[in-house]
Assembly symmetry: C2
Homo-oligomer: 248 residues x 2
Amino acid sequence: MPPAVNAHVSLIDSIGRHVDLSADDRAMLDVVPLRAVTLISKSEILVEGDEPTDSCLILSGALCRYRILSGGSRQILSFHFAGDMPDLQSLYLNRVDHSMCALTTARVAFASHDALRNAATQQPRIAKAFATHALVEASILREWIVNIGRRAALPRMAHLFFCEFYLRLTRLNLATGDGMYLPLTQADLADATGLSAVHVNRVLQALRATELIESNGRHHKIRDWARLQLAAGFDERYLHLRPNSARA
Amino acid sequence: MPPAVNAHVSLIDSIGRHVDLSADDRAMLDVVPLRAVTLISKSEILVEGDEPTDSCLILSGALCRYRILSGGSRQILSFHFAGDMPDLQSLYLNRVDHSMCALTTARVAFASHDALRNAATQQPRIAKAFATHALVEASILREWIVNIGRRAALPRMAHLFFCEFYLRLTRLNLATGDGMYLPLTQADLADATGLSAVHVNRVLQALRATELIESNGRHHKIRDWARLQLAAGFDERYLHLRPNSARA
DNA sequence: CGAGTGTTTGACTGTTCTCAAATGTCGTGG
DNA sequence: CCACGACATTTGAGAACAGTCAAACACTCG
């Protein structure tokens, strides 16, 4: 397994997810030096206040970003899977305002900010891709606000955990038909949805009881996609998904 | 009152808020055609599903972005004041996934996407400024998620309504010492914080009772900034404010 | 087999919501 | 100048959703 080659394909795929890149753009990204690292589960990649000099691309596994409040409670801000670049923020904003850790054993590739910024300066389309990436991320954050602010516990869980994850993982080729593997504990889910872990447990039971989903362990299956979307009030537009371009 | 001149100063100030622009960059933006329009309160600038061809700059007044859920409830996603460019999202993401309306009578200047995109293509620093703008916006959205997801009603209100707004308005030269004018109803605040209007009312009373703030009408005064920040668990870093550069 | 971690359950508490009505404020037109 | 309507704020009371605490139960991995 030659990680370097795959990593560059993945890098180009990730940056070009929302914008069509030219051959020149790809060539530029193809020579960005990547440094692959294996992270053990729960290790922190970023801590609030850090000033990183590299951004990372996830090759395998899952990460999440979060903030810890003074009282000790945690709010998860986003989840990231293989193929995502979870920290383009630090490219232009030196000091990070949240932390990031690995949810599983994960393999990531680091690219220096200098190299990425240089690519953006040389190729306007890459700059556009970075801006678009940030806009899509903002769009997802907005939907999380709607979800946490205005939806009751059950639709909230259905929305984030099943609808959003299912589509995102499908786009990343990480879902299998109507099933997906999600390496999240109920406590993680609680911290992402603003609920308590106990309540998350009960809501999951309700989702299973109404036959919307089916879980064993961390494999989850969608049993009725139409009804699930309806229950969640889900409209996929905010994900700004495009058909899978790079793998044709 | 020649709106065109002021509008361009404001445009440059807004785009250059997080990034230092060169003389060339400024010159480029100085010739972007702007079309000033007066909006009456409550009129909608953007509706979910629109595909706008222009972005706007607020010259005076306040706007907010929001989504309406199927049940009829509303979640406000952000507030924007004079000097802000609230819709840079549509520059690169054609279809908007939320609505935007005027909270007051407002004057805005529209600039075509073509002109702005062209500026970004010509001048890498402008492209960087757009990307950075989106990143700061995402950072604020993240803090809103923390706020709504994990803080109790009182700190939540203190955080958004008093700490964040106070600093942002100060940065925009719209606050006067420890006071500010906010054209928001308690219902607006409720829709922004994920609370009910009744509860917002009660929390405001508690904030007044503990002498953290003072309100009459829509003028609000901070009575104890240190204690307010403490009560809110507020840390301004997420706003990524820089000293007011363009007005020196 | 035991340790550690995650899930499930029960009982109780409490914050926040809903509904409904009273009170206050502002602008407009009679 | 007052009356009126529209809109915003305030109050009360009861209900509901979700949180906390604590313990039992599973599962996995050395």
